[in-house]
């Protein structure tokens, strides 16, 4: 039974090490990082990049939740918003996800459910924008990995531009300017993909209207 007492002795030492590490790595370390995150400059990021308008939190610049326009219920072409990508968390094939959760659809490319969803989305978006189905870009009809993608491709922003200008009584060049201002290229020219932040677009359109 000598080995058994050796096991016990090592396990007891392991328990003591675990408790010490829990204090160091489980409390001191994350709270220290949290403290550093409260320094001005890091603070806005650490707290979730929350965007406020007139003191009211309207969302996070990192979290995409598709806005719903009640006027678009009967006539999709009468929708005033730029729209996000589909979300696996949404009730229907299009529409807002739920930012208190996150996740992808996990559907494979040969799953009939996904084929059906892509078709429905293409038709709905083509109808909303008044264009042929072939013009709808891939990111507009596929659910993102997080279900909360804040961005769309420049192509999808361009596709929505005409409708948004018309419904909001702005000129196309005004909205084109807004899209250009909110389009981010690849980092340093090659890191990541070009993106357009949807919340920023909609806020800028709203501001231009007033």
């Amino acid at each position: 039974m000598r080995w058994f007492s050796a096991v016990l002795k090592q396990t007891a030492a392991g328990l003591r090490l675990l408790l010490v590490m829990t204090v160091l790595l489980g409390l001191v370390y994350p709270l220290a990082i949290w403290g550093i995150g409260q320094i001005p400059g890091l603070r806005a990021n650490a707290n979730g990049s929350i965007v406020t308008v007139d003191g009211q939190a309207v969302g996070s610049s990192l979290i995409g939740v598709d806005p719903v326009d009640p006027n678009a219920k009967d006539d999709p072409a009468n929708d005033r918003y730029f729209h996000n990508r589909p979300s696996a968390g949404a009730q229907d094939v299009l529409g807002p996800g739920d930012p208190s959760s996150s996740g992808p659809s996990n559907l494979a490319a040969d799953n009939p459910k996904l084929v059906e969803a892509v078709k429905k989305r293409q038709e709905a978006i083509a109808q909303r924008e008044g264009v042929p189905v072939a013009q709808v870009p891939a990111d507009a009809v596929t659910a993102s990995g997080s279900g909360l993608d804040p961005d769309i491709s420049p192509a999808y922003a361009q596709l929505q531009l005409k409708r948004v200008a018309k419904v909001n009584h702005l000129t196309e060049s005004q909205v084109a300017q807004i899209v250009a201002e909110n389009t981010k290229g690849r980092g340093a020219g090659f890191v990541g993909q070009p993106t357009v932040n949807v919340l920023a677009l909609n806020l800028a359109v709203k501001a231009a209207r007033h």
Partner: protein, 553 residues
Amino acid sequence: MNDTWAGLLQLALLLAALAVVYRPLGDYMARAFTSKGHWKLERALYKVVRVNPDSEQRWSTYAYGVLGFSFVSVLFLYLLQRLQTVLPLGLGRPEISPSVAFNTAVSFVTNTNWQSYVPEQAFGHLVQMAGLTVQNFVSGAVGIAVAVALIRGFTRANTDRLGNVWVDITRAVVRVLLPIAVLFAVVLMGLGVVQSLSGGVDVTGIDGAQHTVALAPVASQEVIKELGTNGGGVLNANSAHPFENPNGWTNLIEIFLILVIPVSLTRTFGTMIGDRKQGYTLLSVMTFLWGGMLAVIWWAEAHPNGPAALLAGSAMEGKETRFGIPSSALFADSTTGTSTGAVNAAHDSLTGLGGGGALLNMLFSEISPGGVGTGIYSILVFAIIAVFLAGLMVGRTPEYLGKKLGRKEITMASIAILAMPTLVLVFAGIAVVLPATGDALTNSGAHGLSEVLYAYASASNNNGSAFGGLTVTNDWFQSTLGVCMAFGRFIPILAVLCLAGGLAAQRKVPPSAGTLPTSGPLFASMVAGSVLLVAALTFVPALALGPIAEALS
């Protein structure tokens, strides 16, 4: 610039960054695990833990330490989850069921970080910080400790001592993981990653809709999740979640963090054994496999064959706009070539070939470049097998790094290598004939088989990524995946420590004219060949029915 060029430049920047830190970090780690001196903080820790840092242990005692530490860690993490409703910082989140708590405890202690729950709805901050973040550090440290013990088996002679497990774990945390984690946690916050003690913030969208945006202490765990090749998301979407991975730069940094320690440990190995070419040789095998699988996954995702992707025009299902195809492929390859398992895109929605590439990366026993510590010890085991096979061909007693490889050494190496395929094939085989499995699948046909195969490969290799369409909440999956994680972790660890003990006890054999040179391209191709051979012999039938069938359809 088009996607391909942008992706290639990202790849070049990543490799350049790894090349810059390779020497200094590798040598620093070698010093950290050979130095006789102790830091003040370490001395204080040893005092509280009541261990004598200058006494060394036999392989068996070292192994008892690893097992004992992991056992109490599972117990502690289990209780922390079960008691979250009565402990502080629970955020009012629900009680965790015994099966979820068991699976999660084993998962994080074994460096797997498989997740069968939605973290932002299941766990409060105390479980995240005092439970999961801690295991992100120490499970990585255990892997490094075992690797260092094996390397000492080669460097030492005529001794039954391998080092002190408590010293090795403590140094891996204090000298290696923690300083890098602090630095990059701040960098990640600067680039947009969240670190909040609030459970969520209520917002009123521009359309007037009310939402709650989930928040958590992400940055502190995100960094060690990658650096320690753990992979458990603080948020359900893992590194696809914009709060964990907000832009192309954070994505590249996270991939760098995943690779940096496993890659640099080949330098640590070379430095410790006093022959750096040996380390470069193993690194070249890792790079070859990593690069090869990257090419497969990237090409497959850029040229999808599934009907939905063809209809949409691109394989963007499950991928984020800011990453697109190249950055998602680079992440998928790196996370499955190591034991990380973090994902920035839904692996279940990868193409047949792309998902198959990720799966095969794991089935190579995760050595390209592998997890922290586990990568280097696993590839050393393959090197031993390669020397043995070569020895058989020419009829010589095999030697590696001045040690004779006798029956004991080869037996231990074989056990270490064969544990994972056995677990994967046996449990996946049983799972696919169970009637309940059909209901657990999101996708059917060849892709459905891939979901099950991927789950057991991920658990048995301690990866933790998933074809997330498989619903793993029933008791069969929760318990068998837990068993795979535990056996897949500790059988190889025990075999490796026993092997290390045997090697350290031997005398050094000076190389003779008949000794097979174990550095250079010839030996590298033999090691790579052994890896490919073992994977092909064990997994080709299963792969043919899953991802290969899907890729050819």
